[in-house]
Symmetry: C2
Subunit: 305 residues, 2 copies
């Protein structure tokens, strides 16, 4: 019987595991994407204590920190979580493993939103459609790309990609960018030197191309030839497992937690991007804090403290 199974190996899960292990609990992390969103974050400059660090490097530091405390990491996929009559949980994985645990911490994060257009899935298999500009932007050196979205991850992604791509068409549904101001200051330089061309009040209507993406058709009638498209229009929380287990969601579809990261089910906790606890504001440091709180609540549940 494991004390705590942490589902998700992003920073929230790693922080939860760190705290749980220090509480002398047995901890297993199950997650197939080490670092989650952070691992794709390019340079992180807003995590207190590190002036600038690659997102993936920060994740590796956290991973090593928990491994030194004896935490095991599994990359198995979870098929189902069942609550047992004795208030423990059974986790069933894709490899048919059954893991019994006293508590569960759902640090499952959120997935990138798609445009929902024909051929999108087909083209996203290495054929021109991407969902992480900071990850894959540098692959388009000397090429023409379009970035859809006007939020912080879109702008931050363009600031990186503009160092590689010849030209970036920036497609924004509204009439303004909404990033962290410091990132907008940086983007403005690329707009000034015409590396980035903002196209406001526009959406993508159609993905052009047969075998792979060759262009896009916009709602303003314009057709643009591009080599790659980056979709940066937000995220949706990964709540399928939580829903099956009976965990309540909030009005926006995120896992509902209280101040101590408790869900409606005793023994089940959450935190990070899968919740909407600090609203739209989803950061590495807030995920880590929520993970530490979730672990503390799991510890109290197990020890009846």
């Amino acid at each position: 019987m494991t004390d705590v199974v942490v589902i998700g190996s992003g920073v929230t899960g790693l922080s939860a595991a760190l705290y749980a292990a220090r509480y002398e609990l047995s901890v297993l992390i199950i997650g197939d994407m080490l670092g989650g969103a952070t691992s794709t974050a390019w340079t992180v400059e807003n995590y207190p204590g590190f002036e600038a660090i690659d997102g993936y490097d920060l994740v590796v530091k956290m991973k090593e920190q928990v491994e030194k405390l004896g935490v095991a990491l599994s990359t198995d996929k979870i098929v189902e979580i069942n609550k047992n009559p004795n208030d423990t949980f059974t986790i069933i994985t894709e490899t048919s493993e059954e893991i019994e645990s006293k508590t569960i911490i759902l640090a499952v994060g959120a997935a990138r939103k798609k445009l929902g257009l024909p051929k999108e899935d087909q083209f996203s298999m290495g054929k021109g459609v991407n969902y992480c500009t900071t990850c894959d932007g540098p692959l388009y050196k000397g090429k023409k790309i379009a970035v859809v979205g006007g939020g912080d991850s879109a702008v931050k992604g363009m600031n990186l990609a503009a160092q590689y791509a010849d030209k970036i068409y920036s497609i924004v549904r509204g009439d303004a960018y909404k990033p962290e101001p410091i990132n907008l200051v940086r983007l403005q330089k690329f707009i000034d030197n015409e590396r980035v061309e903002p196209i406001f009040n526009a959406t993508v209507l159609e993905l052009l191309g047969e075998e792979r993406l060759t262009g896009i058709k916009l709602s303003n009638g314009r057709e643009i030839e591009i080599d790659g498209l980056f979709v940066e229009i937000g995220a949706i929380p990964e709540v399928v497992l939580a829903q099956k287990l009976g965990v309540e969601l909030d009005q926006y579809g995120y896992i509902q937690v209280n101040n101590m990261m408790e869900t409606n089910i005793a023994g089940v906790y959450s935190g990070g991007d899968a919740t909407n606890f600090f609203g739209h504001f989803k950061q590495i440091v807030t995920g880590c804090a929520m993970g530490s709180v979730a672990a503390t609540s799991a510890f109290k549940h197990i020890t009846k403290a």
Copy 2:
């Protein structure tokens, strides 16, 4: 007119300043104890990303991080904060400086609780009474000391001091320690080798000595000769400035905040140990997260976003 005045230079304040500066706001930190509680924390092993780091070293990293962004730090003391008719604030310092600010972030932390005994203040002026075992424990090399308290900071402090002192009398009001389990495991070794002697169900009734502390008298009748006493019985939030300003406190006397770290006064935010947001659980990572959220709320207030 400053955009954000952060009051308190602990990790909550530094994190708030980091985020506010990245929002391109003008930021001034006013605090006379750089690092707050963290600077006295000896080795920190539970801040994600650092396997082990001296508390003060972590604080210096955060300080340098915000200074690079142009944040100014003042060690002036604040006498009063007044709300102006135009919804800005005027901060009056001991040196009679008057600072106008659009918003205030109260990252004021908490102060150590005292025993409330005669001679306590007199003896705490370098004459045997101390409030931070991890800070001053190493000064008692080869001496006999007593530590009052059974919580995590008491136990962590004893684990450090036991490497220096000849003997530690551990005075606990209840019948058990309540630290993080990993710290109790460490303490047990010092109990086993009799370096630490637990005395449960006891309180300190009297501080003995004329010019300086020479011993203590306990509620169980016992008198013990010691060279130093460490009082580790908790903290009380620094809310005097907040109260004068009209900020609401919760039932425990902490600053009342909602999920976005907003107080009852528009433009005034809080976070960290001065609040009871995550209950008893007060950590570096939770303070940093709350600071980042407070800065975000200040940014939204200023830009009406």
